[in-house]
C-alpha cells in the first residue's frame, strides 16, 4: 500500500489479528489524516473494537504494519500510548468502587508521569480544565460509581482530555445511553474536536448518530475494511444493504439522515 503518509496520523498496512482460530482482522489497511473525525461502523463481530486495540498495541498483531503519529507501533508503543486517549466500551463499573470523579480524570495524567511521580500544580490545573471543558467541574468530588451512565461517559472523555492526546479512540461512546444523553455526547465530541484540533476515531453502531465533524466513515465486515469514504459515499442504500446483508432505506434529513432496516420480506 502506498499512502502519502505526510499528514497521516494512523497508517495500517495489511494488518492481521487472530484470537485463537478466529481471524479478527484480515488484511486491514487504513489511512487516517490529521484533524479528521472518522467513524468506524459495521455489524457485530466485524472487528471494530479489535481495530482500535491494534492501533494501541492492546492485541497481538500477527502480521502487518501499524504506524501511529509517525511512529512504528513495534518501536514506540509507549510514545503512542502516551499521546493517544482511549475510551473502551462501557463495561459496567462497580458502584462501590472507591474512586472520586477527580481520581478517574487524574488517570489521564499518569500517561505523562513516571511510576513514583506526584501530581504537580500543572497536572491539577490540567485535570480541572478537562473537567471544565466537559462540563463536570461540579462533579469532581462525587463518587464515580454513583454517576449516571451519561455522566460516566463525560468523565471518560475528561480523563482522555486530561491526557492531552493528539489522537482520540472512542469505542461505542453512545452505547446504552438515552437520546438526550446521546445528543449531548455528540455535541461534546464536536466541541472537543473544534477546540482541541484532535484526530478522532470512534466506533459506532448507529449511523444516524454521527458527530457533525465526522468527515470519513470506515465500514467493516467480517474483519475486513470494505469501504473507507466520505459520509455521502458511505451512507448509501446499496452500500449499507451490502454491509448489513438486509435491505436498508436511507431517508435524508438535514445533515444527518435517518437509516431504516426495511426487512427481508
Amino acid at each position: 500500500m502506498n499512502y502519502s503518509t505526510s499528514e497521516a496520523v494512523i497508517v495500517l498496512d495489511s494488518v492481521n489479528v487472530e484470537y485463537g482460530y478466529h481471524q479478527a482482522l484480515h488484511q486491514v489497511s487504513l489511512c487516517v489524516l490529521a484533524n479528521s473525525c472518522v467513524t468506524i461502523a459495521g455489524p457485530n463481530g466485524a472487528g471494530k473494537t479489535t481495530l482500535l486495540a491494534s492501533i494501541l498495541g492492546l492485541c497481538q498483531i500477527r502480521t502487518g504494519l501499524v504506524k501511529v503519529l509517525g511512529r512504528d507501533l513495534r518501536d514506540s508503543p509507549k510514545f503512542i500510548r502516551k499521546h493517544t486517549g482511549y475510551v473502551p466500551q462501557n463495561v459496567g463499573i462497580d458502584p462501590q468502587i472507591p474512586l472520586l470523579v477527580w481520581d478517574v480524570i487524574s488517570f489521564g495524567r499518569l500517561a505523562h508521569s513516571s511510576l513514583f511521580h506526584n501530581f504537580s500544580k500543572k497536572d491539577k490545573e490540567t485535570i480541572e480544565e478537562a473537567a471544565e471543558l466537559v462540563g463536570i467541574r461540579h462533579l469532581l468530588n462525587r463518587p464515580f460509581g454513583y454517576l449516571s451512565a451519561g455522566e460516566q461517559r463525560k468523565v471518560a472523555l475528561a480523563r482522555v482530555l486530561a491526557q492531552q492526546p493528539k489522537l482520540l479512540l472512542l469505542d461505542e461512546p453512545l452505547a446504552n445511553l438515552d437520546l438526550p444523553a446521546q445528543a449531548m455526547l455528540l455535541e461534546l465530541i464536536d466541541k472537543i474536536k473544534s477546540e482541541k484540533e484532535l484526530t478522532i476515531l470512534l466506533v459506532s453502531h448507529d449511523l444516524t448518530l454521527l458527530p457533525k465533524s465526522c468527515n470519513q466513515i470506515v465500514l467493516m465486515k467480517k474483519g475486513r475494511v470494505i469501504l473507507s469514504a466520505s459520509k455521502e459515499v458511505a451512507l448509501r442504500e446499496d452500500v449499507l444493504s451490502n454491509l448489513y446483508d438486509c435491505p436498508v432505506k436511507v431517508v435524508p434529513y438535514k445533515q444527518r439522515g435517518a437509516i431504516f432496516v426495511e426487512g427481508k420480506s
Binding site: P88, D94, L99
Partner: protein, 278 residues
C-alpha cells in the same frame, strides 16, 4: 496493659496488629479487583500444604508457600483470561485442596493437635520468627501500596484503561495475587487456615460500605482489621475460646454494623429515606 507482661501475650498483641494490617490491605485489593475467590482457593491451598508438611516432616510454612505458589500460578492466568470463567477453576481447586488437606490429616500419626491448630489458628502460640515473617509480608503490602498507589487505582478501575496508559497492569495484577498468597501463608498459623479468608474480606467489605475514596477505604479497613484482631484476642483470652474464631466473629459483627450504618445504601438510610418519602 498488665497482660502484656507475659511474652506470649505480647507476641499475640503484635501478631494481631500485623495480621490486621496485612490481611485488610490485601483484602481491599482483591475485593476491589473483584477476585475475592482467589483468596478462598489460596487459603485452602496454604492449609493443605501446611498439613502435607506435617505429614512429610518438612516445615509446614514452606510447604504452605509451595502449595500457594502452585495454586497462584494456576488460577492467576486463568482469572486473567476474559474467555474463561475463573469460578470454575477456583471451585475445582478449592475442593481439591480441601480434599488433600483431609487426606493428609488422616495420615498424620498420633495426635493431630498441630494440624488442627492450623485449621482454627492459635495466635497465642506464635513465636518470634512467625512474627518477623508477618511483619515482612505486611511491610511488603504497605510498600507496594505506597509506591504504586495511583497506578493501582487505575488497575482496580479498569485494566484495559491502565494498559492503554502504559501502566504495567499485568505486573500490578500478579503482584496483588502473589502478595495475597504471601499474607495468607504468613498469617495462617495465627488466624487459621479455614478462617483467614474472612479476615481478608470482612474489613475490606465493611470499609467499602463506609468510605468513598481508596485511601480512606485502606485506612478504615486496617482500623477494622486490627480492631477485630485485638478485640477477638481479648475476648478469646477472657472466655478461653479459639482466637481465630473470635477474630472472625468480631469482624463479621463489624461488617453487619457497617451494612446498617452505611451512608451509601445502609438499612438506616433506607428507612430514613422511606420516612422522608411518606
Amino acid at each position: 496493659m498488665q497482660l502484656l507482661e507475659y511474652s506470649f501475650l505480647r507476641y499475640a498483641f503484635w501478631g494481631s496488629i500485623l495480621a490486621g494490617i496485612g490481611c485488610s490491605l490485601v483484602g481491599v485489593l482483591v475485593v476491589t479487583l473483584q477476585i475475592p475467590f482467589l483468596g478462598v482457593a489460596i487459603s485452602h491451598a496454604a492449609f493443605a500444604g501446611a498439613i502435607c508438611g506435617i505429614v512429610l516432616g518438612i516445615n509446614p510454612l514452606w510447604m504452605a508457600y509451595l502449595f500457594c505458589a502452585i495454586v497462584t500460578f494456576i488460577i492467576g492466568p486463568l482469572a486473567d483470561k476474559a474467555n474463561f470463567r475463573p469460578e470454575i477453576s477456583v471451585g475445582i481447586l478449592f475442593s481439591l485442596m480441601l480434599g488433600l488437606a483431609f487426606l493428609f490429616l488422616a495420615n498424620i500419626p498420633g495426635a493431630k493437635t498441630e494440624a488442627l491448630s492450623l485449621m482454627w489458628g492459635s495466635i497465642l502460640t506464635i513465636n518470634r520468627t512467625q512474627l518477623l515473617i508477618m511483619a515482612i509480608t505486611s511491610l511488603l503490602v504497605l510498600l507496594f501500596l505506597v509506591f504504586l498507589f495511583k497506578q493501582i487505582k487505575v488497575v482496580l478501575f479498569n485494566r484495559q484503561v491502565a494498559n492503554s496508559l502504559g501502566i504495567p497492569e499485568r505486573f500490578i495484577y500478579y503482584t496483588i495475587i502473589i502478595l495475597c498468597s504471601l499474607v495468607i501463608t504468613a498469617n495462617m498459623s495465627s488466624i487459621g487456615g479455614l478462617l483467614i479468608f474472612s479476615l481478608l474480606i470482612n474489613p475490606a467489605a465493611s470499609a467499602l460500605q463506609l468510605c468513598y475514596t481508596f485511601s480512606r477505604v485502606c485506612i478504615v479497613a486496617v482500623v477494622i482489621g486490627v480492631g477485630s484482631c485485638l478485640l477477638g484476642l481479648l475476648l478469646s483470652y477472657h472466655w478461653n475460646l479459639p482466637t481465630g474464631a473470635m477474630i472472625i466473629l468480631v469482624s463479621s459483627i463489624i461488617f453487619m454494623l457497617s451494612l446498617i450504618f452505611s451512608p451509601k445504601k445502609g438499612f438506616l438510610k433506607k428507612i430514613f429515606l422511606l420516612k422522608e418519602s411518606i
